[in-house]
Symmetry: C2
Subunit: 208 residues, 2 copies
Amino acid sequence: MHRLNRQLAPGQHIFFESDPARFVYKVRSGVLRLTRTQRDGRRQVIAFGFPGDIVGLPCAGRHTTECDAITSAEVSARRCDPLDHPESDPKLHSLLVTAALDEIRFLQDHFLIFGRRRASEKVAAFLILLLDRVGEAADDRHLVRLPMNRSDIADYVGLTPETVSRSITQLRAEKMIKLDDPNTIIVRDPDRLRALAEGAQELVADWS
Amino acid sequence: MHRLNRQLAPGQHIFFESDPARFVYKVRSGVLRLTRTQRDGRRQVIAFGFPGDIVGLPCAGRHTTECDAITSAEVSARRCDPLDHPESDPKLHSLLVTAALDEIRFLQDHFLIFGRRRASEKVAAFLILLLDRVGEAADDRHLVRLPMNRSDIADYVGLTPETVSRSITQLRAEKMIKLDDPNTIIVRDPDRLRALAEGAQELVADWS
DNA sequence: CGTGGGGTTGACTACGATCAATGGAAGTGG
DNA sequence: CCACTTCCATTGATCGTAGTCAACCCCACG
């Protein structure tokens, strides 16, 4: 069973869009960024790869996105031809199939975030997503570490970096979150944040 | 080999979100609509199912979207358990795996449309998508029939029905398209429409 | 000590959402 | 066959919000 481990430095690419796909990658540590770039230079962040995720599933033998590391990261590569030949490695094959179906569901979820109308709802939904996925419980407080910068978040939820920053400021003013530093968020009121993320609640700008 | 054909009337549902998934469906004729609805009632159109498409791929044994027919339609149902058991029906299994990988790619493409900033670019991109997918060449003119209404388009690209309508009016004023009736579009200038869809071009409102 | 990148904030603008009215086409029932 | 309703598309007027451009700050880095 081939499992080639690879160490990645921040910014290092694993593959590019339409590269012939020989491997898929399981994230061991660190965070990856999957993007697609349009002719006019605009970038769409398709997904972030957190530890445990499988990235790089091919379509017609080619990668469909670009992939690079946000942090230093470790991935293990697995040949992806078992996708086409179940019998060659049944366990890996079924792992990949499951990963594909999960990916579909995840992309659909992503649409719901992306489709929210108000900026603060998008950002709240993004934070909840990260909280549920990689949140840490630090002495009774919910902690979210953001390995990506504001531009990455913006390109993930469909906003500009400035608007992401403003939304975070707003959520902080509303006392739903608190910032230790720009990349470390403490969720003070998960319920209200979640309600906002689901569009159930109006975010009132400032009452004072 | 089980292939259960089913006739559908417009508006008729095939399955709902989180229904246990026993079948996937191949569209024989007509057009399906795949949607997800949020708690607050907002609807996201995930995809349209055109003839040849396979819809209803499950995640963890359940459907992940709602699916109903826009037009009267005919689908053929195939059991989806071969997804988990390649050996039970290798041909169907590999068909489903391919469909899943195609779906991933398609959803990623959808993000690029959805992510475009200007309304007319989104609508142009949507029309190009349909032109390439189901366009007809009618005596040297490119014809696109829209089986869905403006609301469906709006929920697909992330706009309101009014804005979709306005964008279409704009494209018509720019002489990129012409309407036979609200649901029949003649593409007069595919190149310019495509350029707009890809964000390469500015759409000038009115010089006159 | 200087430089550069990322984050935040401000001022202004532009664009799409919203609310509302209209018109046309299709369907229903008398 | 004609009133009546309903749904959909279009258009208009207004408003709000996110985009844009710019300045500033802070921290890490050389």
